[in-house]
């Protein structure tokens, strides 16, 4: 498991009401670019997005900081199935 995925999981789990429903899928886009798909319980969507996406933005900022250590570009997508 990449550590960026782990960072995202830890943050998401700390914010939501149902941590066991948090999942992160890692998609390698090649060329040191990475997409992380975050899934949470429907009722927890607001807890990872926030008003005007403020929480999502903060999550992305921290994950990107983690990624910058490895010179990777990382995109965090919050996915609702």
């Amino acid at each position: 498991m990449s550590f960026m995925k782990e960072v995202l999981e830890i943050i998401a789990k700390s914010l939501v009401e149902f941590p066991d429903q948090v999942s992160v899928t890692e998609i390698d886009n090649g060329e040191s670019s990475l997409t992380l798909e975050l899934r949470v319980a429907d009722s927890d969507m607001g807890k990872v997005i926030g008003k005007q996406g403020r929480i999502a933005k903060a999550i992305r900022a921290v994950v990107k900081a983690a990624a910058s250590r490895e010179n990777k570009r990382v995109t965090v997508d919050i996915v609702q199935d």
Binding site: F3, K13, L15, K57, A65, R69
Partner: protein, 278 residues
């Protein structure tokens, strides 16, 4: 949830009576009776004429501290662990605030560009700490690293003062780069006692910017839409495509700090933009 790294403290003590044992345990743990839970393992026995006497035994466990304490530190330390950063976390708590200070070698990563990452960490920590708190129990959370915020505060104040002088001198307003609400407040409050200067904000988060301008009363002319503006008429027409008019309306409507609205735009936007790049 996250695993608790600190083991609860627990000791067993024996003494002649349950009370004595308990007292000894509290003394050793350096806590009061309210901080602990205890189980009497053996009530002891007085015996008879020194025969069959048994010590009383109690097992004392220090209750876990308020969840707020661990939640901030726990959250941050698990994030830093996952990031592979070795960072020391110091926490200072009061009734309604949690101040975190970070120490280590990789502070650049933690701070980020203009403190972006630090702000994000602070915001997320605040969410974690206040997760289950009602409005009354809300705690203000700050995350800082080795005086970063103090230094940033100082340089923002200096910047504000320097720009205010410049604006006062040449009469042109100045639009700063986008800043967080906290940093904008620093600019506003630094300049609030400047007689001839007013400040307000334009644009929407996260691109909201502070504008430093000369107060209206010190600008003799200027009436918006005034057909024949007096002296400065050539300046009263905003440059085309300049969003300041819309931005200004917005600022005015959403609690700008200036008491007087600014009626006209005395600077050309492109110049202000260029100055911003410094």
């Amino acid at each position: 949830m996250l695993k608790d790294t600190s083991q609860p403290k627990q000791i067993e003590k024996n003494a002649k009576s349950v009370n004595d044992a308990l007292e000894a345990a509290l003394k050793e743990l350096n806590v009061t009776i309210d901080d602990v839970e205890y189980v009497v393992l053996d009530e002891g026995a007085k015996g008879f004429l020194g025969m069959g006497a048994r010590d009383a035994v109690v097992r004392v466990t220090v209750k876990e501290k308020e969840s707020e304490k661990s939640s901030a530190v726990e959250f941050l330390s698990s994030v830093f662990d996952a990031m592979g950063l070795d960072i020391e976390i110091k926490e200072t708590q009061t009734k309604d605030s949690v101040a975190i200070e970070l120490f280590g070698d990789n502070m650049g990563i933690v701070i980020g560009k203009r403190g972006d990452t630090l702000d994000a960490l602070q915001y997320l920590t605040s969410l974690v700490v206040n997760q289950n708190a009602g409005e009354e129990k809300y705690k203000k959370v700050t995350v800082d690293t080795e005086g970063y915020r103090a230094k940033r505060l100082e340089s923002l104040e200096e910047l504000a003062k320097r720009l205010a002088e410049k604006v006062e001198k040449n009469g042109r307003k100045f639009t700063l780069e986008p800043m967080s609400p906290y940093e904008r407040r620093i600019i506003h409050s630094t300049l609030q006692n400047y007689e001839k200067i007013t400040t307000y904000s334009i644009g929407d988060e996260p691109e909201r910017r502070v504008v430093i301008a000369v107060k209206n009363e010190y600008h003799k002319p200027s009436r918006r839409h005034h057909s024949s503006g007096p002296k400065n008429s050539s300046y009263t027409k905003p440059a085309e495509g300049y969003p300041a008019v819309g931005g200004y309306n917005k600022a005015n409507g959403t609690g700008a700090y200036s008491t007087k609205p600014l009626y006209s735009d005395f600077s050309s936007y492109s110049e202000a933009q260029e100055e911003n790049k410094e």
